[in-house]
């Protein structure tokens, strides 16, 4: 008959404790997400809220070898401050291009892109960098956290490019960490976080410089449904708490259904829904 040693018994107990702790943490996170969701449901954008994004007859043509690809065709739209907008459409429909033009990562071939009153086509590379740093915050599908920096420092990176003082940055990251539920993870390395935590961290990073607009490209594309729902709840909470405009590019109908408005793209054109 095998008799377990005291060490083995202790190890077994600790493993069981770890598993239970993880389950408990997950349950707490779900409850928190549910609370966020309930709070978000109550947020409504005022009808007279100022227009923060304006696109007028925006076209974007790429050269692909000798061929010209019309990624966007005369797209016009306006988005008000605090709105939560989902941009949907099939792959290659132009939704990401639209997001990049709004984010000042690219310039239109034709038409006007104005964000927070700034006409992006007229901005120099340096001013566009400042615009991206101060006015918009990007959230990517693959999070793109720096693997060799602790979460605290990762969140500070946009502040570094803004020459923000370290003390101010640290205070702001702590505040944001609480907002995204990662206050106990600030000393951790990205590899020690789950996918959902990493995306929440990326959102906190995007919020560091108090942007007017959050631009999220498939933010739930790399997450399971529970974490995906949590992220959308978080976006809702952010626009509620900070009045930030949130634009999410997504394939996910559930995500789109949570938005105030859905802009559907097809073959570079905006479909009127």
């Amino acid at each position: 008959m095998n008799v377990a040693s005291p060490t083995a018994k202790a190890r077994e107990f600790l493993n069981a404790f770890d598993n239970n702790l993880e389950l408990a943490q997950q349950a707490l996170a779900d409850v928190a997400a549910e609370n966020v969701s309930q709070n978000a449901d109550s947020y409504k954008v005022a009808e007279d809220a100022p227009v923060v994004i304006r696109l007028e007859d925006v076209s974007k043509t790429y050269k692909l070898g000798k061929q010209k690809v019309n990624a966007l065709k005369e797209v016009s739209l306006t988005i008000q401050q605090g709105e939560f907008v989902a941009i949907t459409g099939a792959s290659g429909s132009g939704k990401s291009t639209l997001l990049q033009l709004i984010g000042g990562l690219d310039k239109p071939t034709k038409g006007l892109v104005s964000v927070d009153g700034k006409k992006l086509a007229k901005l120099s590379d340096r001013k566009l960098s400042i615009f991206r740093n101060k006015t918009v915050g990007f959230v990517f599908q693959f999070f793109y956290l720096q693997p060799f920096l602790r979460l605290q420092t990762n969140l500070e990176v946009p502040g570094m490019f803004a020459r923000e003082r370290r003390g101010v940055r640290v205070a702001r990251t702590k505040e944001l960490a609480v907002a995204v539920g990662l206050e106990d993870r600030l000393r951790h390395m990205p590899k020690e976080l789950s996918g959902g935590q990493m995306q929440r961290a990326a959102i906190a990073r995007a919020l560091l410089n108090n942007p007017k607009v959050i631009l999220a490209d498939e933010p739930t594309g790399n997450l399971d449904s529970v974490n995906g729902r949590g992220i959308i709840d978080l976006f809702d909470k952010i626009r509620h708490d900070f009045g930030t405009t949130v634009i999410v590019v997504t394939h996910d109908a559930k995500v789109a259904s949570r938005a105030d408005r859905e802009i559907v793209m097809k073959d570079g054109e905006r479909l009127q829904v």
Binding site: L105, S129, F140, L149, M160, F161, R205, A206
Partner: protein, 651 residues
């Protein structure tokens, strides 16, 4: 613009990626540069040690030897050759007449001509034998008309350069008519050459006396003279002499150490030699050529008799000389069974020889007293280290084993006058050249640079009776410019060391530049890879607000970190290498330097390590330069890329 501290934080994350590549790059580039850092540590250490040792001997004195050209140059003078031949022919004619008068035989072929043909030369070439009596006579006559430049000329030339001392040297002339001097061992005269000391190279130890006993100005001897020694002739008649190290060792009865002897053992020996040297006395047997010939004849006949003791047909010579009974004594006749006719003939021959300059046998003992020990060049087959130290550093009065007596004693000492007041040394003009001393290396250099004759030997053959056109004189151009001496730094390599030091500085800079270029090529691989790998991250940084300049700053800082790592590695490895060299060779160098500089303080050490800040700063600067060059093109390429495409590509 991003703050430096933040840029450094982000740059450090790059160091953590591609660690193996980073380590390989650091090691390879670092090893390349480590050679340079080691060279700097070792050479600067050596220079600093040389500087410390050069306070000994003639190391801090700037003496220049002024070599005259005239004596050798005279050989290419056809008139001189003709005169020598005429003197010879006249002598032969007189000898023939005298031989006829005395009724003895004389074969003119036993007197070779002063101008001889160079065997195998095409077209036929001849040379004037400077040892030939007729040649010497012709040269003497020539020099009386065209005297060689001497001390007065040197003083005139050197005065504008603030020269503060003039010295003279005279060497024994080896010739048929000059006496042979042999150091007596244990009170006995060595009757045969002792070949056991050294098989190759010039003689060392006491055997070197005959070839290298010289007179030199007392001022030049001072640094090598033992404390409390007198330059005067002793009450017992002993002449003061500075002897080479190996000779003192031999005179003290010390068996030479093996070439494998360890430095501590050799240091002990130096101490023993130094301790035993003061007032060490020895005697020299001086024989003229006639006396030496009798000794040699006695030795030869004795050997013949020994070899033929069982040969009944062997007949001993009718006149037999025996070995001297007293040390350095006259050679006695031990058997004379010559017929009256033979005796008459011998008397006539003696009369004939005496008429034509052959001296009667003469020998005498000269006493010496050691007043200093001179460093000497390493023996043939000595270690590389020994040779290196001796050739690079050191302070000596000659380039072989030398014995020196103050020249100031010559006039008042018959033994010196007899040996040194003969003909000028035509074989080696260096031996009797005057010296001039300057107060600084700069003045000595200026003097050499401006007044040195650099003869053009390109147009001249070994000379001959037929050669001698004015255009062939290699010194003609110098003479026109009033440059009558070849000027050579003497006594120490202090001037050469200044050049070596400057040369090393230049070499270090050029070598470092070459190595930096190679290092840059190696670094391009790593830096380029890191930048290429970070395209997505760069795109993300751009999306969240980084300017192009911020990105450039991060990678420049990364390159600086990499360069500093490489430089640190190079310095650490270089330090290790230099410590190895220091451990392996420093004691040997110390020993050689103690000997070469004739250091009075035997506790001095020769270090092969010194930290030279400017070299290290230069090395770091070049490594940084190499790093920045390596980052330039990948970075420019990276900054021109479209961040959107980079984010998509990596997905």
């Amino acid at each position: 613009m991003i703050r430096l501290s933040d840029a450094s934080k982000l740059a450090l994350t790059k160091v953590k990626t591609r660690k193996i590549r980073l380590v390989v790059t650091t090691v390879i580039a670092g090893l390349l540069l480590s050679g340079l850092s080691a060279a700097s540590f070792v050479m600067r250490g050596a220079f600093s040690s040389v500087q410390s040792f050069s306070k000994e001997g003639l190391g801090e004195r700037y003496i220049v030897q002024a070599v005259t050209q005239g004596a050798l140059d005279s050989q290419s003078n056809p008139e001189l050759n003709k005169r020598a031949v005429a003197i010879h022919q006249e002598l032969v004619a007189r000898k023939k007449a005298e031989a006829k008068r005395l009724g003895i035989e004389y074969d003119a072929a036993t007197d070779p001509p002063p101008v001889e043909e160079i065997l195998g030369s095409i077209p036929k070439q001849t040379f004037l034998n400077p040892e030939h009596p007729a040649a010497r006579q012709a040269l003497k006559e020539n020099l009386a008309i065209h005297p060689l430049p001497g001390r007065a000329d040197l003083e005139k030339l050197a005065a504008p350069y603030q020269a503060n001392g003039y010295y003279q040297k005279k060497s024994l002339i080896l010739g048929q008519s000059n006496p042979i001097l042999k150091v007596m061992k244990d009170g006995k005269e060595p009757l045969e050459q002792d070949n056991t000391q050294q098989q190759f190279g010039p003689p060392i130890g006491t055997d070197s006396f005959t070839q290298s006993w010289s007179l030199i100005s007392q001022d030049m001897l001072k640094p090598f003279t033992l404390p409390d020694s007198s330059y005067a002739v002793g009450e017992d008649g002993s002449l003061p002499v500075l002897a080479p190290y190996s000779a003192v060792e031999q005179l003290l009865g010390l068996k030479p150490l093996s070439s494998n002897a360890k430095p501590p053992e050799r240091l002990e020996r130096i101490k023993a030699v130094r301790a035993g040297a003061p007032n060490l006395k020895f005697q020299v047997c001086q024989r003229n050529s006639a006396s030496l010939e009798l000794v040699n004849s006695a030795v030869r006949v004795q050997q013949e008799i020994e070899q033929n003791k069982n040969n009944k047909e062997y007949q001993r010579p009718s006149l037999q000389y025996g070995l001297p009974k007293d040390p350095c004594g006259a050679v006695p006749i031990i058997r004379d069974v010559r017929t009256p006719e033979e005796k008459t003939l011998a008397d006539k021959q003696e009369q004939f020889d005496s008429l034509f300059g052959t001296e009667a046998p003469a020998q005498s003992i000269v006493s010496f007293r050691v007043i200093g020990v001179l460093p000497e060049p390493p023996a043939f087959g000595a270690s590389v280290v020994t040779g290196l130290v001796s050739s690079l550093v050191g302070s000596s009065l000659g380039y072989q084993s030398y014995w020196f007596t103050p020249i100031e004693l010559e006039e008042s000492t018959p033994a010196l006058k007899q040996n040194f007041s003969g003909d000028i040394n035509m074989m080696n003009p260096y031996e009797n050249s005057p010296f001039v001393e300057f107060p600084s290396a700069d003045l000595a250099k200026q003097f050499i640079d401006k007044e040195n004759c650099n003869p053009d030997f390109g147009n001249i053959s070994i000379s001959t009776g037929s050669v001698g056109a004015p255009g062939d004189d290699p010194f003609a151009e110098c003479a026109k410019q009033g440059k009558v001496f070849q000027l050579i730094p003497y006594g120490s390599n202090s001037l050469a060391l200044e050049s070596v030091k400057n040369g090393f500085g230049k070499f270090f800079r050029v070598a470092a530049l070459v190595v930096a270029i190679i290092a840059a090529i190696i670094m391009i691989g790593t830096v380029g890879r890191i930048i290429a790998d970070s395209r997505r991250e760069t795109a993300v940084f751009r999306a969240i607000g980084a300017k192009k300049f911020d990105i450039a700053q991060i990678y420049v800082l990364y390159t600086i970190i990499l360069s500093v790592l490489i430089c640190l590695f190079a310095v650490v490895v270089g330090y290790g290498l230099s410590q190895f060299i220091e451990g392996r060779y420093a004691s040997e160098f110390t020993l050689q330097a103690l000997v070469a500089y004739n250091a009075q303080d035997l506790t001095k050490t020769f270090k092969l390590f010194a930290f030279h800040g400017p070299d290290m700063i230069y090395l770091l600067g070049l490594t940084l330069f190499a790093g920045l060059i390596s980052a330039l093109f990948p970075l420019l390429r990276n900054l021109r890329r479209n961040p959107i495409r980079d984010m998509r590509d990596e997905n």
